[in-house]
Amino acid sequence: MNWTAALPEIFLSCAGMVILLLGVVQKKDSTTLCTMGVLAAFAMAAMLVLQVQPTAAYHGLFVTDAMATFAKLLILAGAALTAVLSLDFNAKAGTARFEFPVLILFSTVGMMTMASAANLMTLYMGLELMSLAIYVLAAFARDDLRSSEAGLKYFVLGALASGLLLYGISLTYGFSGSMDFGRLAQAITDPDGVSTGLMVGMAFILAGLAFKISAVPFHMWTPDVYEGAPTPVTAFISTAPKVAPFVALLRVMVGPFGHVTVQWQPIIVLVAIASMLLGSFAAIMQSNIKRLMAYSSIGHMGYALVGLAAGTEAGVRGVLIYLLTYVAMSAGAFACIIAMRRDGRAVERIADLAGLAKTDLPLASLLAIFMFSMAGIPPFAGFFGKLYVFLAAVQVGTPIMWTLAILGVLTSVVGCFYYLRVVKVMFFDAAEPAFDARPAGVSFVAVASGAFTVLFVLALGAFTGAAGSAAKALFG
């Protein structure tokens, strides 16, 4: 048995225990120390991920292929960026407790397990490990009513979604006799001869995962949790925990249900259309920037689903590039939101950004770059994510995919309206008092993500190649 395939996860888990112990035995506040430890563990894990050979381990429960490597690196990067963001925020909010980075770490282990899942049970275990840590994180500011509410809401709805997922898994197992992706794929080959029970099982699995990526109609929790959770947690939820379930979704849909694309494609198309529409129209009326980002992320998941709906290798490649650019933009945008702090208090209304270009031009420019990028305006990274998913849709070329592509580009124009509104508030409106000085960590994340977003265009070939080989691994 090739147990080293899971070495990054094993290492991270052990490191998590050690850091937890360290935090407990340390007398004085050890949050910074623990965060540094977690960041070091992430860096080490990333190196291990690169070392692991492509293989299937633990009797096929766990695979390490190019897809897993791509996803894990992205997850680690997203988690690390948000860990950096949390440092200063928690100190100022009075919630600097060493459990925070440790919870992020364990959540990351869960996500990495999901990315490697080759069995529905592995998938479920990873998903639960990820989610349980996030439930706690969402309620981390336990004296804050909104945060407690967000944690509770997320927990209750998340438990429901987990239930749906588990029910779907059990139906799938009952009607096909296996939970292994490979064997499921062998069992489910005839697009017309799929049993109803299996279809229902698949729909439930889809629903459970759609909840995690906050796709319509399983998005209800998103705005409230985004708004209520402490901002670094929101940043965390909107980056890596979107990637892992999405990769799992890709694995399940392309793997076990790969031969019955016709059965699930309409569902994905509907979910994608609904997410794009809701993401663009519902965001227009928001006045809280975290809620705006919530609807924005719903919309983004809709665009990424366009790639999955295509059901082709090019589509999966498009999804991966989309997720890559999305994580960078999202982390950067949340870094800018965390920098919104006036007289020691965090502010989060869009109106608070008024005239930011006059008081803090670098921050305003960075946030403007993220907004233009999310709107899909070239030459920023977000444009290329959209380009690849729409290319996949156009390549399939069926009327339904054309509808999806046309609706997609048109809703992106609607979405552009609210992104532009943020830019307008920052650049065109009269200035509000300046924000407090930014901590170095926040500046670092904002500048690093900004540089990635702007310079992505130069390294397009390399990223496309990496995503391409990851997609190829999935299609074998």
Partner: protein
């Protein structure tokens, strides 16, 4: 594709990205605000002048007798998907590169005193805008073109929104969303062509035949983008708003270069790559062009705001350009290109003229002025030159373009030429009416009695534009020679494509009663139906199924 770059160094990349070096310098300027502003002005001016001087190499070394792309550069971008960083200019684009690099220093000079707040940021945005404009005209890769084409929106949005007039927020948003809506549909067309041809290299796409019903949809998608940019009636309504609210230099670039991007797109993509669909939609384009010419001329006549008047005249002039492009003959095309250049200079200069009095009185209302010629003789003279050029008086640049277009239109249809020429008469009406109300009469307003004539800086701005206008009017062949060979080959290629598709039975124009070689339309007869909008039988069947998964999937 032969790698020909007679300049010996990557001149197009240099011209495109040199302004960004200026941006980098501007970003590092430190000191008190007044000093930074002054240094920013000079840095931006020198950067743009240097860019212009380097771009003059194109003027000197461009070989007008060759019809293909010159000064080509090529770098890998996404080689396995047929996408590259490809730059090159041909007879169609070279003069627009020069127009962009020439107008930028003019704009920076024109903003010297007019822009007083956030000068450094203004100059940064303007230089970024220059990079995007030049890059767009130089790109010979469709994806690269699209990136530049869209990216132009960002600096222009900021220029209108930050340094604009009272309704700047509305105008900038309208500008952005109008243009974006069209562009995203073009993006889908781009993807479809990319998928079919396996590359986004324009020189390959130009020789890739697209099936007729695919062309039909591609044309509509391109039209959604380019028609907004031109702008064509009825999607022109963003233009007056954007012009009125934009600062003077913003209007200059908008009228001078940005509108040309739409017409350039029509020539480069719609007509060149989709010959059958272009012929099919010819009546529609003529109709829209004629409506633009006549309707917006009348609208211009009723305007009370000087900038709005010039903005509507732009729509009318671009209508003439569209008629010229869709004649598909050399006179029409040459005329369209010449008119684009001429309009780029003349309308830019007219906006500058408005800016001169706006800087002094802070009003653009025509009724606010009157009798300026007494106090401002030099200004009156300059304004006169550009008024005449806008009308199309022989001896000025405006005449050559309109004349050639009308000759080209005459070869297609008498009525088309007549209606197109109406624009010149109406143009004379609104421009002379404007001139009379602003310049002549007695000075009645007190503040006008002490108004100052052109300053040396303003003379420096106008002198090259006056010279160019007269040069283009008196000796047009020093400009037409640049694109004669290209348009000749272009028209020939188009005719061949028409003949070829006629042979294959793909020719769709029979329902409209035209012949393959010389597409004729009969305006005024009911044969034209709904201006060609109804697809012929070939199309009717399965409009969306033109890309079955099995055809020509060259992309991995």
């Amino acid at each position: 594709m032969s790698e020909t770059n007679i300049a010996g160094f990557p001149i197009l990349s240099l011209v495109t990205f040199l302004p960004l070096v200026g941006v980098a310098i501007l970003a590092t300027l430190r000191g008190d605000e007044a000093a930074v502003a002054q240094n920013a002005r000079w840095t931006a001016l020198w950067t743009s002048l240097l860019t212009f001087m380097i771009s003059l190499v194109l003027w000197g070394r461009f070989d007008p007798s060759v019809s293909g792309f010159q000064f080509q550069e090529s770098r890998d971008w996404m080689p396995e998907y047929g996408v590259g960083y490809r730059m090159g200019v041909d007879g169609i684009s070279v003069l627009f590169v020069l127009l962009s690099t020439a107008l930028t220093p003019v704009c920076i000079l024109a903003s010297w005193d007019a822009i007083r707040t956030r000068v450094r940021e203004y100059m940064i945005v303007f230089l970024i805008l220059e990079t995007m404009m030049v890059g767009m005209f130089c790109a010979t890769d469709f994806l690269l073109f699209y990136v530049f084409f869209e990216a132009v929106l960002i600096p222009m949005y900021v220029i209108i929104g930050v340094w604009g007039g009272p309704r700047r927020v509305y105008a900038s948003l309208k500008f952005f969303l109008y243009t974006l809506t069209g562009s995203v549909l073009m993006l889908l067309a781009l993807l479809a062509m990319w998928q079919r041809a396996g590359t986004t290299d324009i020189s390959v796409l130009l020789h890739t035949p697209f099936p007729y019903n695919m062309q039909y949809w591609l044309f509509l998608a391109f039209m959604a983008s380019f028609a907004v940019k031109v702008p064509m009636w009825p999607v022109h309504t963003w233009l007056p708003d954007a012009h009125v609210e934009a600062p003077t230099a913003g209007s200059v670039i908008l009228a001078g270069v940005l509108l040309k991007m739409g017409a350039y797109g029509f020539i480069r993509f719609s007509v060149a790559m989709l010959p059958d669909a272009s012929a099919h939609f010819q009546p529609l384009m003529f109709a829209l062009g004629v409506v633009a010419v006549i309707y917006t001329s009348y609208v211009a006549l009723a305007q009370e705001d000087m900038k709005k008047l010039v903005a509507y005249s732009s729509v009318a002039h671009m209508g003439v350009v569209m008629i010229g492009i869709f004649t598909f003959n050399q006179q029409g095309l040459d005329g369209a290109l010449f008119q684009m250049l001429s309009h780029g200079i003349v309308s830019a200069a007219l906006f500058l003229c408005v800016g001169v009095v706006y800087d002094r009185i802070h009003s653009r209302e025509i009724a606010r002025y009157g009798g300026l010629s007494d106090r401002m003789p030099a200004y009156a003279l300059v304004f006169m030159v550009f008024t005449m050029a806008s009308i199309g008086l022989p001896g000025t640049s405006g005449f050559v373009g309109e004349f050639l277009v009308i000759v080209g239109a005459f070869k297609v249809n008498f009525w088309l030429a007549l209606l197109g020429a109406l624009g010149m008469i109406l143009g004379a009406a609104y421009m002379l009416y404007l001139y009379r109300r602003v310049m002549f009469g007695r000075i009645t307003k007190d503040d006008l009695k002490s108004i100052l004539d052109l300053s040396p800086r303003e003379i420096a701005v106008f002198a090259p534009l006056v010279l160019l206008t007269l040069w283009m009017g008196v000796y047009p062949s020093s400009f037409t020679s640049f694109f004669d060979a290209t348009t000749g080959a272009f028209v020939q290629g188009h005719d061949q494509a028409m003949l070829g598709s006629a042979g294959q039975g793909l020719r769709p124009l029979t329902p409209l009663g035209t012949s393959p070689q010389t597409p004729l339309i009969r305006l005024g007869t009911n044969k034209i139906g709904v201006w060609g909008l109804v697809p012929s039988g070939v199309l009717g069947a399965k409009p969306l199924a033109f890309l079955p998964a099995s055809t020509g999937t060259n992309l991995p």
